[in-house]
Symmetry: C2
Subunit: 340 residues, 2 copies
């Protein structure tokens, strides 16, 4: 790798001058600038980001961390794409960490990121009381929480109105005549799981119905738990007539179980999922789902992060996107035993 000294030698100046040409061109004579630029080009010099980072820490090393719970979930993939697009334009790189809903893994990655002297962090904390992330916020590192907030610490956050989204989904089902509506939740400690449950309960209350606790199941937010818990629900003496699944992967698991048993959707069981995918329409049947704008959320989080890196004292903001119900045919017809 060619370095500053090589360029300096080639241009017949000191390394300080070369550095100035790069970072503060106005402070150097036009003719010298020419010479140096020439040398830089002919040697194809690229500064070492590592040395830059070591020397001047805090906000100008153009690398950030992105820590997410589950890369297998298409929603987070959209978030990544949004963040990445915004980063690319500014010449930033992201160290991507997928902690797979595992707190130990999250901690390790956060340690690594700190030790890498990142400029900032976009993170979906394992749960609301994530001490490690909280401490990093307090230490002054620019941090944007995405998808899930942090309780007890002031931090920027970008998320969706989960309660509203769940409320709309359940209301839709109730209006179609369903009363035995099951909910398969993701990990109960995740803030989004709680908010979606709250929306579920609020809808029942709104329509004067009573929640049947036996129809609420808690999984680990993954495909397998969707399969397993759907089976449990179908095995009940009186199975639910509708199912609300707490995320993407649970939905796919539920579909798999339902199909494998030959149960008909929506005739025998209606299905609404949290998290839409652009190919939801190609599922069997086309899935009714609550859509989170993951890409836009990622972009927004990146913008907020840039702002905070530039001005660490800016007051924190909370950006709440709408979660819109996409109605397709997976809960199209009224349930058999519907009571309007």
């Amino acid at each position: 790798m060619t370095k500053l000294t090589d360029v300096a030698k080639a241009a017949g100046v000191s390394i300080a001058t070369v550095s100035r040409v790069l970072n503060n061109p106005d402070s150097v004579n036009a003719a010298t600038q020419q010479k140096v630029q020439q040398a830089i080009r002919s040697l194809n010099y690229k500064p070492s980001r590592v040395a830059q980072r070591l020397r001047s820490k805090g906000g100008n090393s153009k690398i950030i961390g992105l820590v997410l719970p589950d890369i297998q979930n298409p929603f987070y993939v959209d978030v990544i794409r949004g963040v990445e697009e915004a980063m690319y334009e500014k010449g930033y790189a992201a160290i991507m960490c997928n902690f797979a809903q595992n707190e130990d893994k999250e901690r390790l990655y956060l340690d690594i990121l700190q030790s890498e002297s990142i400029d900032g962090l976009i993170v979906a904390p394992v749960h609301g009381r994530d001490q490690k992330v909280a401490n990093m916020v307090l230490s002054g590192l620019p941090i944007i929480c995405i998808d899930r907030g942090l309780t007890g610490v002031e931090a920027d956050v970008v998320l969706v109105d989960n309660q509203q989204g769940a409320f709309d989904a359940i209301s839709h089902l109730i209006k179609l005549g369903h009363q035995r509506i099951a909910y398969i939740s993701g990990l109960p400690q995740i803030p989004t799981s709680k908010a979606r449950l709250a929306g579920y309960e609020a809808a029942f209350k709104e329509y004067g119905l009573k929640v049947d606790e036996s129809l609420i199941k808690y999984g680990d937010s993954k495909h397998e738990s969707g399969m397993r818990l759907t089976a449990e629900l179908l095995n009940l003496p009186t199975p639910p007539t509708a199912l609300f699944t707490g995320n993407n992967l649970i939905t796919l698991g539920a579909l798999e179980t339902i199909h494998s048993r030959g149960v008909k959707i929506p005739e025998e069981i209606a299905l609404v999922g949290f998290d839409d995918m652009y190919w939801s329409i190609s599922l069997n049947p086309p899935l009714t789902a609550v859509r989170q704008p993951g890409f836009e959320m990622g972009q927004r989080a990146a913008e907020l992060l840039f702002q905070r890196i530039k001005d660490p004292s800016r007051p924190t903001v909370k950006v709440v996107f709408d979660a819109a119900l996409q109605v397709r045919s997976s809960c199209g017809a009224a349930a058999k035993n519907a009571k309007p």
Copy 2:
């Protein structure tokens, strides 16, 4: 951040000793070790990976680059998961770069990675003659190519037998009686597109059939091109009776167009996709697809990279996984105009 000097002061030793306790404990007296360990723990000291990287370059900074064409493609997500799992166990971090099939973007990211002094790189080059990647290989950086090889340079590569996979898919269709089999290819410059086309042609030859060039379409490997090119095929005076899609996203695009036109699968058109997804069974109809073991490929690539980092002179290897056809119902029945 606490640093070496802080620990040294607390333990009453020099920074050299602290460093030795960390990197070569046997070389320091047991009692001193105790003192130092104690200080490290009580100060919660974590070495700066940036400083480590600057000081001792080449193979022990525990960071690698992962450069992939399209994070929206579930196949690459599997690859990422495989790589990540292997990395995690060894305390490595990965800088993830998604170049979205864009060569400029790839180049920028590769520059950044070089400038970050990564230990190694796992990459799916934009095309077979990717000069930038080739140069990095020649410069001695440990590199593993995944999904696509590099022509003209010796480099490790992990991929699938794409030609065989396509051959099997087309043979399956031919045996079902199809003759007008369309192929929607991804970007033609991508090695996998070429290999899959070769498999397509080989199958036609094997069964003594003639390839109809008008049934071969080239897209950009994304969802939209799948939609658009499928529409073109369905608009033909004599549409194909079967469709072979070149990757994941094309398949989903094709499904969307086919459904939107109310064309029946497999009665009116049979469908086989390259790339399986764990939820392919929940598509409408359950998709017949060629499966690539992305997770295993990612793991293997990571292992090969570790080996190469340890021993840069190890001879290069080519690991070829099988691509297995998963038969489901999307091409279940024989075509209407079948001639056995």
